[in-house]
């Protein structure tokens, strides 16, 4: 197996271009690559489209933020494709003010759309969202008397993901509930950058337990662990 390139968070941020579709792992910032986000915030990359479960926490009263919230506040995204923004008042404000385009997607649908993108499917047929606002503008197919929405695959330019451990060949093992969207996003982007707590020798991970085979990974960023 060929070793993957190990780069710094700053070098990783340099691989993200203005206007890119960026898939970001994590669920309320649990399992988000926090050092990559910080580097991207410093670099000020703009006009990105964010694909992520949510936009983390931004407390309206205290101003405290986690995960991707500072980039939202910086208006580094022209569009966000997310399932939940109830914990970030600034995202809601930008959406209501029409400052940023926000697509709200059911969580299970978003997971399948990303997986479909990574796995070469054109999309999936889901009952979720039938008869709701989510149905608008979408094709509806009836199978055996039941209605399903055609939800199209989503692909991205760059995936920024977080794993607990990588081996040098890029095989990944995640950490408890920090797995969430990370392995899915690793399949669906041109460039996949993973922030990890540790890098071990190739062969040190149990091949039965690898969540993301190294073939999906392009770059590894080693940090001292999640902040």
């Amino acid at each position: 197996m060929i070793d993957k390139k190990i780069i710094s968070a700053e070098e990783a941020a340099g691989l993200v271009n203005d206007g890119d579709v960026v898939m970001l792992g994590g669920f309320l910032a649990c399992g988000s690559p926090l050092n990559l986000l910080e580097a991207l915030q410093k670099k000020g990359t703009k006009d990105m489209t964010l694909v992520c479960n949510d936009t983390a926490f931004h407390n309206a009263k205290t101003g405290e933020m986690t995960g991707v919230a500072p980039l939202v506040l910086n208006k580094q995204f022209k569009k966000m494709v997310v399932t939940h923004i109830g914990t970030n008042f600034e995202t809601q404000r930008q959406m209501n003010a029409g400052e940023t385009e926000v697509d709200l997607v059911p969580q299970g649908t978003l997971a399948e759309q990303i997986r479909a993108g990574g796995f070469g499917l054109g999309g999936i047929l889901t009952p979720t969202g039938v008869g709701t606002e989510v149905e608008k503008g979408k094709e509806v197919i009836e199978i055996d008397g039941k209605k399903f929405l055609v939800e199209k695959a989503i692909k991205g330019d760059v995936a920024l993901i977080k794993a607990r451990t990588a081996d040098k060949a890029g095989n990944l093992i995640f950490d408890k509930s920090a797995r969430n969207f990370n392995p899915l996003m690793a399949t669906a982007c041109e460039t996949v950058i993973v922030e990890v707590d540790e890098i071990v020798e190739t062969g040190a991970l149990d091949p039965e337990c690898i969540n993301t085979p190294g073939l999906f990974v392009n770059y590894i960023v080693l940090t001292k662990g999640a902040k």
């Binding site: 649990c30 914990t87 809601q92 299970g108 509930s177």
Partner: protein
């Protein structure tokens, strides 16, 4: 009689729904509290839609693990026999009908089983998160809600006016006044909770309510 919101009654009643082995998903907020009232002799399996089954109680102070949270972002624990998975598997479990019960919060619920709980256009837009999949996918959907809004309006409606989370999927509604089954376009009042009366419920809820013979008073 004056109405006083009582969330404890709601979660206590819902906690009595489950039997050994049921796989249950508790929504964020009020539904999460149901977990504190499961009888000791009933062993259910709680799913956390952010990626595991075997959800256990909150850890002791100082033992929190930032890599193990529930869908609300709070630190939790994993019971023996639990398992982690990614979001596609988690929602496959939900959408695939493998969850026996989901308990969800409510903005509005109507007598056709329609649920609205993810946005008030132009005002509050938390987003649907996992709620649409849970409502469509779980075998039984329990809507958990205080009976009235702050302005006194009933949250039980003839027709939801807010954007729907899903249509015709709610099976049961538990409020702090009573336990309703939704059937044939009506709320069937199965139990009313002391100190409220059937008449109090009927007089203050402008929906079609059926009171069957076996409707009974319950003290929680």
């Amino acid at each position: 009689m004056e109405y006083k919101p009582n969330k404890e009654v709601i979660v206590k009643r819902i906690a009595k729904f489950f039997k050994d082995g049921d796989l249950v998903n508790l929504g964020i907020g009020l539904p999460t509290l149901v977990g504190n009232y499961i009888p000791d002799d009933v062993h259910i399996n709680l799913q956390s839609e952010n990626g595991f089954v075997g959800l256990g109680p909150a850890p002791e102070k100082g033992k929190e693990d930032s890599m193990l949270t529930n869908a609300g972002g709070s630190p939790v624990t994993l019971l023996a026999g639990g398992a982690y998975f990614d979001s596609a598997v988690s929602f496959g479990i939900i959408r695939g009908g493998h969850v026996d019960y989901t308990v969800l919060g409510v903005l509005q619920v109507d007598q056709n089983g329609n649920l609205a709980n993810y946005m008030i256009p132009g005002k509050m837009i938390p987003g649907m998160g996992g709620a649409m999949d849970l409502t469509i996918g779980a075998k039984k959907v329990i809507a958990a809600t205080t009976h009235f809004e702050r302005n006194g309006d009933s949250k039980l409606k003839r027709n939801c006016t807010l954007p729907l989370t899903a249509g015709n999927q709610v099976d049961y509604v538990v409020t702090d006044l009573g336990f309703f089954e939704i059937k044939d376009g009506k709320f069937i009042l199965k139990e009313y909770f002391a100190p409220y009366s059937v008449d109090y419920i009927l007089n203050n809820t402008d929906v079609d309510i059926v009171v069957p013979e076996d409707c009974k008073e319950v003290t929680l």
